[in-house]
């Protein structure tokens, strides 16, 4: 068992949710999103972000607009659609459930019942 694999799986699971959380707060530009993630100790590569954003956009979760900038090519600014918002809310609910469950399981201290004491049931 490769721990990196499992870790990567865990991350992958919550990426979308995190990104949607950021965009929910306001219109965001990819590089800003990367900055935010980094600030929260969740590093993401831009090469990972862009496909994700495109997919979300293609699924009508996000929308964008072009903003001209004088320091380079025009930029895309992403914002949540209504569908995206609903999606986010669901994900949030799921996340909360998961977080609680995991928290509970990981923090229990009493040991498991001893299997040798049990009477065998026929």
């Amino acid at each position: 068992m490769n721990i990196e694999n499992t870790q990567s799986q865990m991350r992958k699971g919550i990426l979308e949710f995190c990104i949607l959380s950021i965009i929910r707060r306001g219109e965001a530009y990819p590089s800003d999103i990367v900055e935010e993630m980094k600030a929260s100790n969740l590093n993401i590569l831009e090469g990972t972000l862009y496909p994700l954003l495109t997919r979300l956009k293609n699924a009508d979760m996000l929308t964008y607009r072009w903003v001209e900038s004088n320091s380079g090519p025009p930029r895309k600014y992403f914002s949540l659609t209504d569908k995206g918002l609903a999606f986010f809310k669901e994900l949030e609910a799921t996340w909360n459930e998961l977080a609680n469950a995991v928290h509970k399981l990981a923090n229990k201290t009493e040991s498991m019942p001893d299997s040798t004491n049990q009477n065998p049931t026929f």
């Binding site: 990567s8 799986q9 991350r11 992958k12 699971g13 990426l15 979308e16 990819p30 590089s31 590569l45 831009e46 090469g47 990972t48 862009y50 496909p51 994700l52 954003l53 495109t54 997919r55 956009k57 293609n58 699924a59 320091s71 380079g72 090519p73 930029r75 895309k76 999606f87």
Partner: protein, 744 residues
Amino acid sequence: MKKVININFHSRVIPIEESAYEILKQYSDSLRKYFANEEGRDEIINDIESRIAELFSEHLKKGANCITDADVTSIINSMGRPEDFEAADADNTMNTSSSAKQQSSTSNQQQYQNTYSYASSGRGKLYRNADDKILGGVCSGLANYLGIDPVIMRIIFVLLFGALLWVYILLWIIVPSQSLQSNVTKRLFRSADDKIIGGVAGGLAAYFNIQIWIPRLIFALPFVLGFGSRIFHFGFWDWDGFSPRFISGGLGGTLFLTYIILWIAVPIATTASEKLEMRGEKVDLNSIANTIKEDLEGFKGRMDKVGTDLKEGAQRFSTEFKTTADEKRKAFSAEMSGRRNYNSGFGHVIGVLFKAFFLFIAGIVAIALFGALIGLLFGGLAVFPLKNFLLAGSTEDLLAWCSLILFLGVPLVALMTWLIRRIVGARSNNHYLGYVFASLWVIGLVCTIVLFSMFARSFRTRDFVEEDVTIAQPVKGKLLIDVMNGRKSHHYYSREWYGINWDNDWPLYGDNYDTLLLNTVRVNLVKSKDSSFHVHRLKFSRGRTQAEAQFLAKKINFDVEQQDSILLLPNGFGISQHEKFRNQQLLLVIEVPIGKKIEIAGSITNYNWFTINFNHRNGFNIRDYDESDDWGDAYRWHSNTEYVMTKDGLERTNKNYKDDEDNNNEDDDNNKITTPAPKNNGGYRYKSNTDSSKEKNKKDSIKQKKSTKEKTKEATTTIDKPVAKVDNNEQVSSPVYLLATLFQ
């Protein structure tokens, strides 16, 4: 000092180092491959590149003059390389399971890996390799298709020279040529470092991964042993074709030859990458570096003895390192398996010689074919006027045209087109033209076959008509047979007919455009049963049916004129286009009574008798006159000689027959040949046939008897035997009869 180029990157002009640009391009390509199956791929890549462009601008704004390798690399690192991407998702509906994600990401990663491995190209189809060719690139293309080293292919072809030569030429013509990238990772080279004579053994050892001494031993030992033993045996001067026998004989000789072939054919591994290929190791930067290091060590070791210095070695190391590093930076596959220059001069010369030789032979074959086809075509056109006489019916006509054009014309056209294309250098990817030509030719072949069978059928049966010719008995008791000449008869022959020059050898003459003159005439002399001369005319013809044959036979016109004691025969007889040529023949039988004389003039020899035979066993043949054509009891005669008929047969009146002028095509046999008295009724065996089949059988038996008699006659070439035959009629005829029955 590095070259800087300007690129137009997302509407910005960016000055960037060339090497940095290469890195960027590579990254872009890898992205493209990674997202190949992704929907919205272009958008994603666009976004990423846009971001990169933006970063470039910022960097330049900060004061840099251009973008360097380091800049690009760091940007790429921050963006992430495709293999680092996570959450690559082929499923766009957001209903993802973790396994699907994993699958797609690994497959994408594999794809990404593949782009950095060797390119394999054109594995599916067989091409001739345009880049790597000595003669026509056939071996190279084949080897590419099969995934083996071209040199091995070449060696096979050379060793099996005889059998594979035609295969080679065929492939050379048929298989199209293309620029192929090499897709072998292990190639046979000659080793430049490990060489005593030519490095063949070294190369072989590297290829097969065996110790160097093994191939050396294999080559050397039989040779040395053979050498030793043979030199005692044969000495230096005993040559066996190409080389002294002590070299060429035996296993040592074969191996010697093999060594020479390999020396010529196998290229020497000079560059580091070639050396790696020789060993079948992966050619990348590390291995090249290692190889060079090894080389260097070996080199140094050797050079130490001579005493040259490290400077050279270091120089070589650095330049090779740099060049190979550059190579690596460029598109990997294209460079690594790029063109191979075969600079070995000796092999090159041999190759050119071979090429010239092949072309020469091919050229001769082509010219011969060409000439033959043209000859046939013109021959066909030349006998075209005869066509109307030969062919009956519009079907045959049509078939004749078809076969002429398709069977003869198409190969001609095809050959010419091929030549022209070859010369011009035009290439085509599809061979539909070849197929069209081939199918047309096949149709022509079928037409020809059908035509011939139909034509042959018209000659299937033979029939004849017999007529009596009334003549007046010559007063002096001697009859002279001569041929009319001059324009007396309305049959004259012209030497030119349809622009074709006939000479006397042809049995045909053109009369006018409607008539063909045949002189298939023969004169037979037999003994008369009574005391008068009789003349019979037998007209033969062939035809599709018996009735047709007889009909055509009747049509033969051969009027004999008599001027007292001279019987004048026409030059020939004519057939019209309506009647068609069906091997019509005329046999004139002259009965000579005993005691009377007869002489045949020399002009008779102008007749050309021939018979066309077609049976299922022997096929089709044309026979000149021979004795089986004689009817009844014909006697041989020489022209311009007077004979008198005796009860024993024809006898020359002039007894000194030694100095005969013999200018006909009879056998030069004795003049007292007799034949036994006829077995059947005292008359002639040929009668007007009421029952053709019975007649036919009789005729066949007669023919067989004649042929057996002929055989026995031929067996006895002395003069005496026939006399013996005369004496013992019964005894002679019964063995003959026996033989005849055997043949039946």
